[in-house]
Every structure is written in C-alpha cells, then in structure tokens.
Amino acid sequence: MNRDMTIEREERRLARWFVAPALAFIVLGSLVPIAATGWEALYGHDLRLPWLGRPFVGLSNFVEAAADPRFRSALLHTAIFALITVPLELALGLALALMMHTAIRGRPLFRLAVLLPWAIPTVIGALIWRFMFDARAGVITAALQSVGAASESFDWFAHPLAAWVPIGAADIWKTTPFVAILLLAGLQTIDPALHEAARMDGAGSVRRFATITLPLLRPALVVAAAFRMLDALRLFDVAYVTTAGGPGTSTETLSLYAFVALMQRLRFGYGSALSVAIFLLTFAFALVWVRALGRSLIGDRT
C-alpha cells in the first residue's frame, strides 16, 4: 500500500483512466471533425473537379452561402418547421404524459403506444407516413375524400405547402413519445400531497394543473423543449425520406441542403461552409438553453 495514497488522490487517479476513453471518442469523433469542417470550409474543394485542386478561398464559401437563395429558404423552412412542431410536440407529449400518469387501468397499453413509435427507426416511420399520405394508396387521402374535405387524388407531395404536412406528421408522431417520457419523469417527481392539499382547499383540476403541475414541471418542459428544438433544427431523416426536399426545394431543410451540396454535388468546401453555418446556429441556440438546462441536468451535488 503506497504511503500517502489518500482516497481522494486515488479517486482523481482512477478518474483520469475512466474518463479517458469516452473523452477520446468525443474529441476524436466530434471535436476534431468539427474543427476540420471549419477548416475545410475555407477551401474550394469540389470532388467532381479534382484538377482544380484545393485552393484556399478564405470566407468566400460563407459569402456565397449568405447570398444563396436556396440556403436562405432552407433556413426559413427549418426555423418555421421548428417553431410549429415543437410546441405541438410539447402539448401532445404533455397530454400523453398526463394520461399515463393518471391512468389506473390500461397502463401497459399506453406504454406500448408510447414506446413503439419511439423505437421504430425514423426513416421507417417516415416511410409509413409517406405511404399513408400517398395520392393513390394513402389512407389519409382516402379518409379525407370520403368526408369530402379533399378533392379527387389530392397529391400532398406536389404542393409546396401541403408537402410539409406529412413531414410534420411523421416527425410529431415519432418524437411526441420521447417528450411524453421526459415529462412523465417530471410528473412523477411532483409530490402528490400537493395536489391533495389543493383539492382539500377546493381547487378544481384545471386550477391545480395551472398552479401546481405546470410550474413544477417547468424544468422538464425546458429540457424537452431544448432537445426538441435542437432536433428540429437538425432535421434530416424525415425530410429526406418523406419528400426528399420536394417538390423542388420547397421542403428542404438546412441539413438536407448541406447533404445535397456535399454528397450529391460533391462540393465539399461549400458544403462544409453550410455545415459550419448549421453548427453555429445550433451552438448559439444551445448556449442560450444550456444555462437553463445545465442546472437541471448536472443536479445540485457539491
């Protein structure tokens, strides 16, 4: 046994080894690549035109992006999509969480209903929704037609605005369960005695919800909102599979456009600049939220 190997010293020593692998993956797997992307964005690198080499072009990729109308519309699409779907997901998730929390019978059914959409791969879910909205075989189109709400063979995917509906539906369907689980955790930490006391004071369920549940659920709501906003800003899978950005580019999200630039047009320099722009956007957003988030996640351990 070493002299002067106190427990704290040993903990520090062990911690270095325990943390190293995860840290290595994080640094090598994300920090270094992000820096490399930033670096790549400063070069003109078109894989289709290798004879042009890889000249240093400074910030011209970024300048091009700023003026690029397709980038601007992708930005607009993404922002509006996020601002619409996230509140919907929060509301639906909250409703679902409340139901799961207060359900006496049928809990396993709720759990199943919540976990299945969440577990199903995003692209699979998107494909199902695309099928359901399909002009010919889509059950949703058929249902609306039978009610008279839509005309003969309305093609959702041919309409620039309507095409957002299948995307939104697929995204909300897939992510509401996740929100519900997060909020359920929050609900479970609320002391039932508070509600009982309020009930004895004569407060109805709506009032109790507004004055007890919502305020105490705020941390969980903040966490859920932050995660969902971040995911909405990064949206790729659902957009690619449901509409591939179409018709034209009217449902193209930021990540989708960057992907097109990189993997389809093989303009790595420009695509990297787009990626950096997306990264900065999400980073700025995350910074704002991390203040609110950090306290609830790290907890109050000394």
Binding site: E11, W17, E40, M99, F110, I120, F131, W173, G294
Partner: protein, 272 residues
Amino acid sequence: MTSGSAVARLASAALLVLLLFPIFWMLSSSVTPESRLFEARPLLPAALSFAHYRALFDERDFLIPLGNSLVVAAMTTAVVLPVAALCAYALARLRFRGRGLLLALILAVSMFPQISIVPPLYLILRELRLLDTYPGLVLPYVTFSAPLAVWLLTGFFRQLPAELEQAAMVDGASRLRALRDVVVPLAAPGVATAAILTFLYCWNEFLFALSFTLSPDRYTVPVAVTLFRGRYQVPWGQVLAATVVATIPVALLVVAVQRRIVAGLTAGASKG
C-alpha cells in the same frame, strides 16, 4: 381508463389511435396483395398475401442489410458499454476536477448537427479506406450514442448507495476490487437499458449510414429501405414488408423491456 371526464377518456382514446394506427396500417398493408394496395379498402384486409415478404427476401435479399445493421449495432454497443460505464461511474462517484467541463462536453456532443462532421469524416474514412466498412460506421456511432449511455448510466450509478463501495473499502478492498465485487453485480439493469438504447440508436441511424456506405451490400436497414427502387415507381408492397421486418426486432426488444426502458429514462432524468 383514466380517472376523469368522458372528454379525457375520449382524448386518451384518440391519442392512442393516432399513435398506434400507423403501425397497424403498416402491418395490414404489408400483407395486402399488390393489386389491392392502391384501391380503397377496408381496414382489415380480406385476403392475406405474403408475396411482398417473399419478394423482399428472394429478389432483394433483405437479409444482407439486416445483417449489416445487426453487426454494426452489436459492435457499437460492445464498444459503447464499457466506455460509457467507466465514464459514468467516474462522473457519479469519483471526485475530480473538470467534472463540470466533462458533463458540458458530453451534453454538447449530443447537440451537434450530425451533418457538420460528415465532410471531414468522409474524407478521413476515404483516406483510411474505411468507407463502406463496419468500423467506418462504428466510430461516429460510438461518438454519438455514448452521451445518452453516459447520461443514463450516471443516473443509475448515482442511485446505487455509495455506502456499499465504502463498506467494501473499509473492509479492505481496493476501489477497483470494490467495483468488481459490489458495483458490477448490481449494474446489470442499468447496463442492459444502456445497451438497448444504444442498439436502438444504431438500428435507427440514417445520415451517417447514408453518407459512409457506398455499395448496396453494405447498406444498413434504413438506407436499404429508403433506396428501394422499382422500375417505374416505389415498390410500396415490398417497402412496407421491409418496414415490418425492420420494425419487428426493435418492437420485440422494446416490448420485452418496456418497463425497464421507461424506468431507466426517468431515473436518468430525475435528480438521484
């Protein structure tokens, strides 16, 4: 079902239907013969046809993407579990400087837009000839699934009484010995949940798989299903059969351990 008004019960039923209907429709459509797929039809198919499934495996050899997904998911999980468990234990139990920074880093990684690291990873993997290989996918998969595993396992370790390891140490065991004798036997539930979530992430992942695999026999399931091409149009019958096949493993997994998953996620969320 719920304690409350008829409105609440109606709303519950509506939400349940909304959540479960697409799955039901997927199942029902996958066994509907091609000829009836695009007609108006009742909710339950009159005649069951497994032609799509046959075509899926005979013509498209769907076993290959299934195998690819399985291998990548297994490899990733095998790497993530020890890496995340060690890191989570350190975060939960050991006193060291930089805990806050590490947590912030882990949180930050989970917020990255995945597209942002595709360019350099693509170029590096191309250099190292790891494009279109299993390890080429495992690296980004580990990086991006580790944060959730660490978060989950940290919450789990925090809930284990610290006094157990302390008792073992006072009894004479070194920290590592105490880990082996006391923590590891009790870690199974948390590790199982982390393994399931990691597996789900890999099975689910699309962007990296799309970017870093080139040949169809390296496609993972999400990529393979999305890139089904018919001669004239999307072969919906087979696509639907493929979605069912892709869903079955994860659905079974989730159903089998649903209680554990919810408990694991809520345990990680609540403050110890």
